[in-house]
Amino acid sequence: MRKRAIILNTAIIFGFVAVFFRLTDLMILSYGRLSEKAKMQQLKQEDIQVRRGLIFDRRGRELGVNLELESLYCDPDAVVSPETAAHDLSGIIGKNPDVILTKFSSARRFVWLERKLNPEAAEKIKRMDIKGLGFMPDAKRFYPKGKLASHIIGAVGIDNQPLEGIELRYNKFLKTPGGKILVTRDAKGRTLSTGVDIESRGNNIVLTIDEGLQYIAEKELDAAMARWQASAATVIMMDPFTGEILALANRPSYDANNAAYAKDFERRNRAITDCYEPGSTFKIIVGTAAIEERIVKLSTKFDCSKGAVSVGNSVIHDAHKQGVLTFKEVIQKSSNVGSAMIGMKLGKERVYKYAKRFGFGEKTGIDLPGEVSGWIRPPRKWWSGSIGAVSIGQEVAVTPLQVVRAYSVIANGGILVAPHVVSEIRSPAGIVVYSFNSSENKAVISKKTAEIFKDILKTVSEEGGTGEGAAVEGNKVAGKTGTAQMIDPRTRRYSKEKYVSSFVGFVPADNPMIAMIVVIYEPKGQIYGGVVAAPVFKEIANQSLSYLNVPREDTDGENILVVERR
């Protein structure tokens, strides 16, 4: 009995000693090797999901959001029956089976089959349970308003890399660095909670544009394109006091959701990238300069009865003979002859000085990519007839944005504002990380000059003015028509068929809410800004004032319906 107890005790002791040695080996001697092995089995490195910040309009309406989709990949070695798989997949992802087969025959271990599948297609493929296929979460940029404001918002590529517009210009705010994260998983591959969010979001951008105004502008621009069979068109609507762009639209345009299929001419943001000769809208320069420099009075008369005036080696003509015109009438009736006479009175140095003061020949600094500066030659490079040509808006190249900014100077009492489309940028937590600062605004003419010229511009849309078609019922419009010949690229001379028609102004004239320019390129049937562009201005202004709850100025005591503004 005792002998058996000794044997049992000895066996137990040896057993414990063996366990002790094994534990010593596992926990001390082989600790490093085994813990590394365990880590490799238990820990998995995952990408932090990077999501671009959202884009909102000025009222917080979503213009650019992210969709959570899945992308399909394959490990060609692991696909058991490539032909069958290719055939089955082709019906769902809409690709030729041969194309899919080519991907299955790749030597690489990871091949994309289809990026950003819609949820229904992904679900169908998952149900098919094809070996060798896998899914990865992938965010897709989505622009819920489609074509609307596509030239401002821009677009991204397949890997969410910025291509155009705000997406490109403010990419450093919208994107986020991402990185890797270690997650613990069990033997079945199930991941355990990491306690941290594996999604990293970029900053959100609030634009100055208003979806409602943008819609009105684009709708009327489409109508104008159809009405005049034009090659292109642009509208810019701006707050004349702050430089906030309320709407900016171009035609042709594109749907940012399908940016890959858009053609170059559709992507062009003509409002800031295309130059044109402004024609009569440039008469703001000689008009304001003449008042500011006290060269003329409103009653100063100019003899335009001959319908032409010689300037150096060239002759400036009016479309119709106008007779003797006062300074005010020269602008109202858009007399080229009268404007050239004013320009000659001013002299080329002063005309150039004021053109530069109004920001022509320089970029406005708008926060969109691709802006051009336009050009105006320095006076030393002018030829004898240049003073006449520049006075009527020839021999200069401007962008629509430069012109509407110049007219905003009249609207706001002499201040050259900085146009911009981004109001503020907020972190995902709502903290403001960037806010537009308009400290660069500077006075370029006196308030008095601006007031006098505003009164003249009001007459343009009144009876006898060239821009009668822009008159809005109930509110006064101050503005100017422009009609300019385009350069024919074949002959390099002014074309007799291709014109640019424009109207630029602000409304209500005495308490301006919006400054706006309408530019129609190559209209068919009519060429004059007052006929082609002014009615577009009227339609947009009329609807915009209604949208902004701006009351009419002529209806006191005649109202039927009372609407309280909240």
Partner: protein, 116 residues
């Protein structure tokens, strides 16, 4: 000596089993606690996945809502389905509560973002 032996007997009889019981209890507690933590981690992980799915769904719904609430869509519905027309400006007067009418300030101040 007899007295000392009695003490040893009590020690063996009470303290050793008690110590072993404590030891076993301690080991069991640690194992039980770790198992509990692991179970909670699984539960949290499942909930996190559900949350993620819900947030993804929310993003999709937000995009759909933004599309449906576009001015273009609302106008189209108003015009074609509901027979609404834009009011004649001459028949509308806006009673100003304060300030002059102006475009909304470009800001999200006071507005809750739709983003999670």
């Amino acid at each position: 000596m007899t007295h000392a032996n009695r003490h040893n007997g009590i020690f063996s009889f009470i303290f050793i089993p008690l110590s072993i019981a404590f030891l076993l209890f301690g080991v069991f507690s640690v194992v039980w606690l770790r198992a509990g933590v692991r179970t909670v981690e699984y539960a949290i992980s499942t909930l996190e996945n559900k949350r993620k799915e819900a947030l993804n769904e929310k993003k999709m719904l937000m995009a759909e809502k933004a599309s449906l609430l576009s001015v273009q869509n609302i106008k189209s519905t108003g015009d074609k389905k509901l027979g609404l027309i834009f009011p004649d400006r001459v028949k509308v007067v806006y009673v100003k509560k304060k300030g002059t009418p102006a475009p909304y300030r470009a800001s999200l101040t006071g507005r809750r973002l739709t983003e999670p």
